[in-house]
């Protein structure tokens, strides 16, 4: 008579990158690159066009007009409200993430211009604890909404996240309604939300602000799923379609407006900013 304790949490357990793989080796064609080679080419494989993950900083550099980015709320840091300790303390994981990424959290926000159009940017970083959303990610995204409202400019967000941050327990779940409310405030103020889903955009982030864009773009082959393929397979034993959860499938099923190659992303965002500028 037991209930099925199916794990349908918003933390997917199977988000890439696969841990053992060299991050600079192309998983499609096995070409290997130095960091500077990839950086010079928008982190695209020069041979096959594979989209490597991009850090928040690299993403901002690639999108914003040179020198236009003014970061906001950079000093916010996570607390440890649950004194969470699994195999290691949460505080230790946080410190380590900050050390290795140079970021205070899994999202960077700030004012920017793209092809001379003002906007607000909110860019996630998968390398900071899998881009998971805890209190600080929720707060910074919400402040990005407010900053956009204040200047009546569109908010452009680039998402990349494995889901909510378990270590903050129920508070991480609360970042879903929190960011949703912030987007509603943004919309009530007449500002647009442009969402760019990078690999992977899953679980709690997909089930909140990432799905509320006026326009939804995705990068090629990005995984976009509430529940990732492995969990779906495990719990339902269904045969998965080949492109299950990928951007291409999401486009076909009506969840996206367009899949945009990274080289086209900046001009596409600029076009959308012109369109939402009204007159």
């Amino acid at each position: 008579m037991a209930e099925p304790h199916i794990d349908v949490s918003i933390e997917t357990k199977d988000v890439p990158p696969a841990p053992r793989r060299d991050p600079n080796t192309c998983p499609s064609c096995q070409s290997h690159y130095r960091d500077d080679e990839l950086e010079a080419n928008l982190w695209l494989c020069l041979h096959c066009g594979h989209h490597f993950p991009m850090t928040a900083r690299a993403r901002i550099t690639s999108l914003a007009d040179t020198g236009s980015f003014v970061e906001e709320a950079a000093d916010l840091r996570s607390e440890d409200p649950l004194n969470f300790f699994d195999l290691r303390p949460y505080t230790e994981r946080l410190a380590e993430a900050e050390m290795s990424t140079g970021l205070g959290e899994a999202i960077v926000i700030g004012q920017a211009a793209v092809e001379n159009r003002s906007c607000e940017l909110a860019v996630m970083d998968f390398t900071f604890m899998g881009g998971s959303m805890g209190s600080v990610v929720g707060e910074k995204f919400s402040r990005a909404c407010d900053s956009a409202i204040e200047r009546t400019v569109p908010l452009v967000t680039v998402t990349s996240s494995g889901g909510a941050r378990m270590q903050e327990g129920i508070l991480s779940l609360m970042q879903l309604p929190k960011t949703v409310c912030a987007v509603e405030d943004l919309h009530d103020a007449g500002c647009a939300l442009i969402v760019v889903m990078a690999h992977p955009t899953t679980a709690g982030v997909l089930a909140s602000f990432a799905s509320l864009g006026d326009v939804s773009l995705a990068e090629p082959n990005a995984l976009i799923a509430f529940t990732g393929p492995r969990v779906v397979q495990q719990t339902t034993r269904e045969k998965l379609p080949d492109d299950f959860g990928l951007a291409e499938q999401n486009l076909r099923f009506g969840h996206l407006d367009a899949i945009v190659h990274r080289q086209e992303l900046r001009p596409t965002v600029a076009r959308l900013l012109r369109l939402f500028d009204g007159e």
Binding site: A2, K13, F84, A164, M166, I170, G204, F226
Partner: protein, 310 residues
Amino acid sequence: MASEAELRLRERLSKLRSLPLLGGARLSGELERLQRQLDRMTAEPTDEEIWRSVELARHADRPYTLDYVARLLDDWFELHGDRGRADDGAMVTGLGKLDGRTVVLVGQQKGRDIQERTKRQFGMPYPEGYRKAMRAMELADRHGFPVISLVDTPGAYPGVAAEQHGQGGMIAQSQALMARLRVPTVACVIGEGGSGGAIAIALADRVLMQENAIYSVISPEGCAAILWRDASQAKKAAAAFKPDAAHCLELGVIDGIVPEPEPAAHADVDEAARLLGESLRDALDELDSFSGDELRRRRRAKFRSLGIFA
């Protein structure tokens, strides 16, 4: 840290004692139960007590949404279908009268026997279920009916079709709709409040939990599998992420705890329903004084304040 947390808790509790939500003068006959409950809260729940909540929340005899509907609502009329492609059995929606006042109710429904569980997917809605709930909430908004939402789900359904039909997007849309409503909304977690599947219908003016319900970002088993690499460490995981009502109250995630009969709701469903009804009524009465715009403004401000950071 621990003493600071306790201070915060005591402050909350003293505020709680004066709240009409948990009864005040009205609950004079129940002061004893209330005291017991408060005592339990002032003491940090032990790992054992947390695990007991997990087990009680999933107890096979625990009352489900329709058990409460049958006891609390007059003139119940169930609304079916999402007006698109399905009628999701995991999500119940309908109209009824709570003490003579028309309300719209939405809630997950698990299912008592194997057949009903299959029909209701063990209380795990598809996107169609959330769209069905949205339709009912839109009806409520159109006619000024309050919305009562009873949360009881292991989570949204994890399947191929569910993904293809936009599970993540629909959970976001449902929350967005709730953030827009201009009618009073009260949510109560009556069993399992499982992650995104739960919050989809819980962005409410007042969020309550029954004494032995749980509310969490992930199942204990799922958390253990990821962080301990061992699903059998579920008890340890639950102790770490604290899905019980007392901790949710402490963290400011819920506004009140709905008492259950001893030892838990399934032991006396009528009494559990009476206590739930009392809390729902109190919450609705409290919300009566606000205009629709004010409700919406306060609701968003409340959720936007959730989170702890430096």
